[in-house]
Symmetry: C2
Subunit: 373 residues, 2 copies
C-alpha cells in the first residue's frame, strides 16, 4: 500500500485512555516501520496534558518508552489550541492530532485544526455532541466531510472500541434505511442495572449497587456524572446526527436523570451517595412493577429516525430480550434497518475501559494513515 | 475528500447478490456525483454473467436502469479471466472489479487482476478459502497486503454485510491478542437448529425442518451443499487466516457433515431429502441428550488461535448462551480477545440474503474509492 514515509503524531492527554493509547502507538509504530513494501515511520512529536508539555521547536521524535519520566520532568506549560494548531501546521510532515481528553475547549478548536490540514482521531464525545453548529463546522472542514482539510474519526466516542460508528456510517452510505437505534450505551448503567435487577431475580438496593459500582471503579469519581444520563445523551446525539437527524444538543431531547430532584442540591458526591438510600423504596417499586410483568428494568437510549424521537431513560424489557441478557458492564447496540428487517444488526461487548477505548482510537489512526497518501 | 473524478466499475454476476448490488451501485453513483466538494463519477463499463457480456471497446458507460433488458439481448459470450484482465487494465481510468459470483476460476485469477492495478471487491468465499498459496498470491499482489497492485476487500465472504472481517482486522492491526472466534456462520444452519431445537422445547423432526427450510428458500437448491458443512468451513478458513493461522484449506481441519454416511451415494438432492427421515431417530437422540443437560444443539464453527484448532460441527450450549438465543436465520460471531477479557465482542444479525450481502460489497467499494486517490 502506498503509505506515507513519515507521519507526525501529537497526543493530548495521558490519563487512562492516553496511557493505553501510547502503548498501542508504540506497538503500531514498530509494526508499520517493518512493512517491506512501504515502511511508515510514525513520530510522536508532541505529548501534552492539561498542564505539561513535551515537544521541541524542530519536531524531534519523543521516546515512546520513556515519555512518562520526561513528561513528569517537564516544566513547559501546555499550549493553547491556536498555538498548538500553528505549531502542528508548520510541521514538515502530515500530522495526526490524537485528542485523548474530554476537553471542550480543545473540541471547539477542531475546525481550526482540520482547516490547517491536521487530521484528528479522538474518543472526545464533546466535539460531536455539543452544539449542532460545531458538528457542522467540523464536517464542513474535514476531508471526510465536505471540506478539503484533515480527516476526522471518532469511533471511540460511542461504545469505545466496538464497531458502532463505522457500522452506522456504512449502513447510511450504502443506502440502507436506518429506522431505529436502541441500546445500552453506558458501561456504568449496564453494570448498575444488571446487578440491581438481574434476569431471574436478586440484586441489592439501588443505592448499595451504586456504592459497589463506585468502589469497583465502574463510575466516574462523582457518580452523579453517570446518573444524570448526560453521557448517554451525548452518545445518542452523535448516533442520531450520523443517522441524519439535526439534533441541536444533548439537552434538546428527553433525558431521564437518576438523580432524585431532592438530591440535586447535594454539595458533594459523598453527600449524594449518603442520602441516595432514602430513595431506594422508589426504585424497588419500579423493580417489583417490572417483575410482575416478567420484565427487567434497564437504562437505555433510542433514536427513532422516522419520528425523530431521541430519548434516554429507564425502560422495561422482556427477560428474553438481548438487552435484558447483557452481562457485567457490556454495551449493546441494535440497528433496526430496512435491509435487516425485524431482526436487528447487534453489536455487543465492553463499551468502556482504557484498552478498548484506546483501540478505537488506534484503529482510527490506522484508517487516517491509509488515507494520507 | 480528494476522491477521484471518475472510476470504472466492472461487475461479474447478476444473480441474487448481483442484482441487489447493481441497485445499490445505482444509488451510490447518483449520490457520489452530487458531492459538491469532490464529485466522483462511477461508470459501469462491463457487466457479465457466466454466459453473456455487456461492454464496449471504448469503455462507454452502461445504463444502470436498463441493464437487465440489454444483458438479455446480448449475444456476446463472457470473456475469459485473462482477456477480462487485459480489457480492464487498458481502461483510461482506475477500475474496480466486483465479483458477485462464487466462481473458482475467476477467484484463481485475482492475483493477475491485482497485479495489473485492478481493485477487487467480492463476496466470493472461494478466493480466500481455497489453497493457502492462492491466499498468499492475492495478498502479496494487493496494495492492502504487501504488494503494489489494486486493493482487495471481501467483507461479505463471512457473515454477509455484518462487520465481521473489518472488526477482526482492526483487532489484529491495533495489537489485540485474538484468542478464540466462535459462532454460527450459516443462515441455513441457524434456521435449521433454531427450528429443530428452540430454547424452551418444541421443534419438528430434523428431516421435516430441512424440507421446510428448503421450501422457504433458506437452503441451496440442493440442501446437501449446506449440510456438508463446507460453507461454514470456508468461512472459518478465512477468519483463521486473518487471525494469523496458516490454514491450508477448508478440508484441512475437522468438519462435521450432517449428511449421513449411508446417504452419501444419493444421486440427487430429492432422493437425499426423501431418505433423510430414516436418520431422524439419531438426531432426536442428540436432542434428548442435550435437553437432559439443560442445553440445546447448534451447528457452530470455532478457531482457537493458541492451539491452532479450527473445527466445525454440532455442539451443545446452555439455554442462556447467546448462541442458543439466536433467532431466525441470524448469524452470531464472538471474538474472545485479551482486551475484551471474559465477555467477548459479539456481532449478530442476518448473515445471508441478497440485500445484506450486496451491502457488504457496496461498503467495500466505498472503502476502495476512498483509497483510490
Amino acid at each position: 500500500m502506498p503509505l506515507p514515509r513519515q507521519v507526525f503524531i501529537a497526543v493530548i492527554g495521558a490519563g487512562g485512555v492516553g496511557r493505553c493509547f501510547l502503548n498501542q502507538l508504540h506497538h503500531l509504530a514498530s509494526h508499520l516501520c517493518q512493512n517491506p513494501a512501504a515502511p511508515t515511520y510514525l513520530s510522536l512529536i508532541l505529548l501534552s496534558t492539561s498542564k505539561k508539555l513535551l515537544h521541541s521547536p524542530d519536531y524531534r521524535s519523543l521516546h515512546l518508552n520513556s515519555w512518562e519520566e520526561e513528561l513528569a520532568a517537564s516544566t513547559t506549560p501546555a499550549l493553547s489550541p491556536p498555538d498548538l494548531a500553528d505549531y502542528l501546521a508548520n510541521a514538515p510532515n502530515k500530522v495526526v492530532l490524537v485528542d485523548n481528553t474530554s476537553n471542550q475547549t480543545l473540541a471547539d478548536a477542531y475546525p481550526l485544526f482540520l482547516k490547517k490540514g491536521i487530521s484528528i482521531v479522538t474518543p472526545n464525545k464533546k466535539a460531536f455532541s455539543s452544539s449542532y453548529s460545531l458538528w457542522k463546522s467540523i464536517f464542513s472542514a474535514a476531508a471526510n466531510g465536505c471540506g478539503a482539510g484533515g480527516y476526522v474519526f471518532h469511533e471511540s466516542s460511542v461504545g469505545a472500541g466496538l464497531p458502532v460508528i463505522c457500522t452506522l456510517k456504512e449502513l447510511v452510505e450504502t443506502g440502507d434505511e436506518v429506522r431505529k437505534i436502541e441500546g445500552v450505551f453506558s458501561g456504568t448503567m449496564s453494570f448498575l442495572f444488571n446487578s440491581f435487577m438481574p434476569v431471574g431475580g436478586g440484586g441489592g438496593s439501588f443505592s448499595a449497587e451504586v456504592k459497589k459500582a463506585k468502589e469497583l471503579g465502574y463510575t466516574e469519581p462523582d457518580p452523579r456524572d453517570d446518573l444524570n444520563g448526560l453521557d448517554v445523551a451525548r452518545k445518542l446525539t452523535i448516533l442520531a446526527r450520523l443517522a441524519g437527524l439535526e439534533v441541536e444538543s444533548p439537552t434538546s431531547f428527553p433525558v431521564q436523570s437518576l438523580i432524585p430532584k431532592e438530591l440535586e442540591g447535594c454539595k458533594s458526591g459523598d453527600e449524594f451517595l449518603e442520602r441516595l438510600s432514602e430513595f431506594d423504596g422508589k426504585m424497588d417499586e419500579l423493580k417489583k412493577e417490572a417483575a410482575a410483568e416478567g420484565k427487567v428494568v434497564r437504562f437505555v437510549g433510542s433514536v427513532d429516525v422516522a419520528t425523530k424521537d431521541v430519548k434516554v431513560g429507564l425502560e422495561k424489557f422482556d427477560a428474553s430480550h438481548p438487552i435484558a441478557a447483557l452481562k457485567g458492564s457490556d454495551n449493546i447496540i441494535s440497528f433496526y434497518t430496512k435491509r435487516y428487517g425485524s431482526n436487528p444488526l447487534i453489536i455487543q461487548g465492553a463499551g468502556a475501559g482504557g484498552e478498548v477505548t484506546a483501540m478505537g482510537v488506534t484503529g482510527d489512526l490506522v484508517k487516517v494513515l491509509r488515507l494520507l497518501h
